[in-house]
């Protein structure tokens, strides 16, 4: 069976390294196209930390490219690693995460190997037909790559990860990164406090606050509700523009696109700007004092009322039921 290359995306896990959930989702999706092979490109020791999970989720082979040259330079080294592997393995397809880095690697790879690519896919069939949800969730498109070895970037939270134990045979990749790929140096990686909450695009549950929350201090209510559910905190553009919550937590057209199992919109009217980023969430709950707010058109369950009364009571109720 043909190999399907999956670029592994890792995340800092305490002092070590863990896998981003989208990696397991890609390994699951890749099985429709062939035999998944994971590609680890990073610092020495990365593969050792994640190989068991990769094998558990179907990686028959794990290609390991580990060097400081890869870790110290942005994006371009990973495209070189993948281009070499596509040549060496005659891979049937390449899957990357639909993250900023994943898309940049995908673009460079497409030029190196002369292929077409499709981004933000939520499904791929055995014949290479993919599903994409476009225009803020309004339109569903079926597409196909028309040239070369197809490259796909996979939207986080669109394919439920399923274990499928495989050999996970480690194969070292012998590659010297070119000077061309070392034009941008990573000087420092700074982690900003997330309160120990899951990352937005990976989270199964997200609680977001909007203009109705009223102030930065009041966002503690949103954080409290998110924490009672083990979820991430998001914010509408109105809330981030007002300085209630940091920009990087913005969900919407100009922020993150998320697709969690549960999305709770609190004090968010549901302007198109916001809907664009959360419309494909599986279950949507809204709390808003205005019963005409457009967010209710999307909500599976809506409560019309004062968020300052409902949210604390809900947090208490959830904490009690979960105890």
């Amino acid at each position: 069976m043909a190999e399907v290359l999956v670029l592994v995306e890792t995340v800092a896990d305490g002092d070590g390294v863990g896998l981003k959930k989208v990696t397991l989702e890609m390994l699951t999706a890749a099985r429709a196209l062939g035999e998944p092979s994971a590609v680890v490109a990073g610092l020495a020791g990365t593969a050792a930390a994640v190989k068991e999970r990769l094998a558990e989720y179907g990686a028959a082979k794990i290609y390991v490219a580990e060097s400081e040259d890869i870790d110290n330079h942005l994006v371009a080294p990973k495209a070189e690693v993948l281009a070499k592997l596509v040549g060496d393995t005659s891979a049937a397809a390449v899957l990357l995460p639909s993250t900023q880095e994943g898309k940049e690697v995908a673009g460079r790879l497409a030029l190196k190997i002369g292929s077409g690519l499709l981004t933000d896919i939520s499904e791929v069939d055995a014949d290479g037909t993919v599903t994409q949800v476009v225009f803020a969730g309004a339109v569903i498109v079926k597409s196909k790559v028309a040239k070369g070895t197809p490259i796909y970037t996979v939207s986080p939270n669109s394919v439920p990860p399923e274990p499928a134990p495989a050999a996970g045979e480690e194969i070292a990749v012998d590659i010297a990164i070119s000077d061309d790929a070392k034009r941008v140096t990573v000087v420092e990686r700074t982690v900003e406090a997330s309160g120990g909450r899951p990352e937005l695009t990976e989270a199964s549950i997200i609680v977001s606050g909007g203009r109705g929350v009223g102030s930065a201090e009041n966002f503690a209510l949103i954080e409290g509700l998110a924490d009672s559910l083990g979820g991430a905190v998001g914010a509408s553009r109105a809330a981030t523009d007002s300085g209630f919550y940091p920009h990087q937590f913005q969900v919407g057209q100009t922020g993150k696109t998320v697709s969690p199992q549960l999305y709770m919109a609190v004090g968010i009217s549901g302007a198109i700007q916001h809907r664009a980023g959360m419309q494909t969430s599986k279950t949507i709950v809204a709390i808003n004092k205005d019963n005409e707010a457009p967010i209710f058109e999307l909500a599976d369950f809506g409560v019309v009322g004062d968020l300052f009364a409902i949210v604390p009571a809900l947090t208490e109720e959830i904490t009690k039921r979960r105890a």
Partner: protein, 259 residues
């Protein structure tokens, strides 16, 4: 420091958008077309760099005749001149072919820095700056929320999911920007009047030495097979909070196994 800003005209994300059923391309003729919002931050940053370090700001766009409106908007913010790549044969071009054309267009002028919004609000591929960097063999400092220019050395804070990375590179370079970067200025009346007389160079495929067979729908490296409107969500349940809203919501969450 001479700067080029990549600008794209897109269908307004605030109005209804769809594909054209005759050829499955983005329906632009029927849409309310505006400047891609993310590009306004790139223009603002270019103007700031110019104010601090001198040089000229050139707008580069590829698109149909209607993109002239977008060019004028960019010029009215304060850019000095513009290049408009337009040719009927470009209709339906994929991102790969578009990057080839823009790379050629960038070869027609002298520049030190290219600024670009990180993402368009229509296709959302987040890829064009990386493709151009790969084609041109220059540094790509991507996803910037902050840019510092010190001679030929560029330092960027790259926005990441859990914080930011400090990255460095040398000009000539491409920097892609998020909306966390600055607050774009509104065009002044004077700026709007001045924009009308600023030079706009129109370039066709022939001008760029690109063969028609390399671009357009026929040469696209991916194909849209079909599209459909997403079915509307079935009507949800809505309750008024009579003091029991939280309990009812908790019941709903429990019924879905979230609690």
């Amino acid at each position: 420091m001479n700067i080029v800003v990549l600008v794209k005209q897109v269908p307004d994300s605030g109005s209804e958008r769809t594909l054209d059923s005759t050829d499955n391309t983005v329906a632009r003729a029927s849409a309310d077309n505006v400047i891609n919002e993310m590009d306004e931050y790139a223009i603002e940053e270019a103007l700031k760099v110019k104010e601090a370090h001198g040089g000229e700001v050139t707008i580069l766009t590829m698109g149909p005749d209607s993109a002239t409106d977008t060019i004028r908007k960019a010029l009215s913010m304060g850019a000095d001149k513009a290049i408009h790549v337009t040719d009927p044969a470009l209709h339906g071009s994929c991102v790969i072919a578009t990057s080839a054309v823009l790379a050629k267009a960038l070869g027609t002028i002298e520049w030190d820095l290219v600024l670009s919004g990180a993402q368009s609000t229509d296709g959302g591929l987040t890829m064009m700056p990386a493709l151009l960097a790969e084609r041109l063999g220059v540094a790509h400092l991507s996803g910037a929320r902050k840019l510092t220019v010190d001679g030929s050395k560029l330092t960027v804070e790259r926005q990441t999911d859990g914080g930011y990375w400090t990255i460095e590179g040398q000009t000539p370079a491409i920097v892609s920007t998020w909306d966390t970067m600055n607050e774009p200025r509104y065009p002044s009346f004077k700026g709007i009047m001045a924009a009308k007389s600023k030079p706009v160079t129109t370039l066709s495929l022939a001008d760029l030495g690109v063969d028609e067979s390399e671009v357009g729908l026929g040469a696209a490296t991916s194909t849209v097979l079909e599209f459909a409107s997403r079915p509307p969500k079935s009507e949800g349940e809505q309750v008024n909070d009579e003091g029991d809203g939280a309990a009812k919501l908790a019941d709903f969450l429990a019924s879905k196994k979230f609690v």
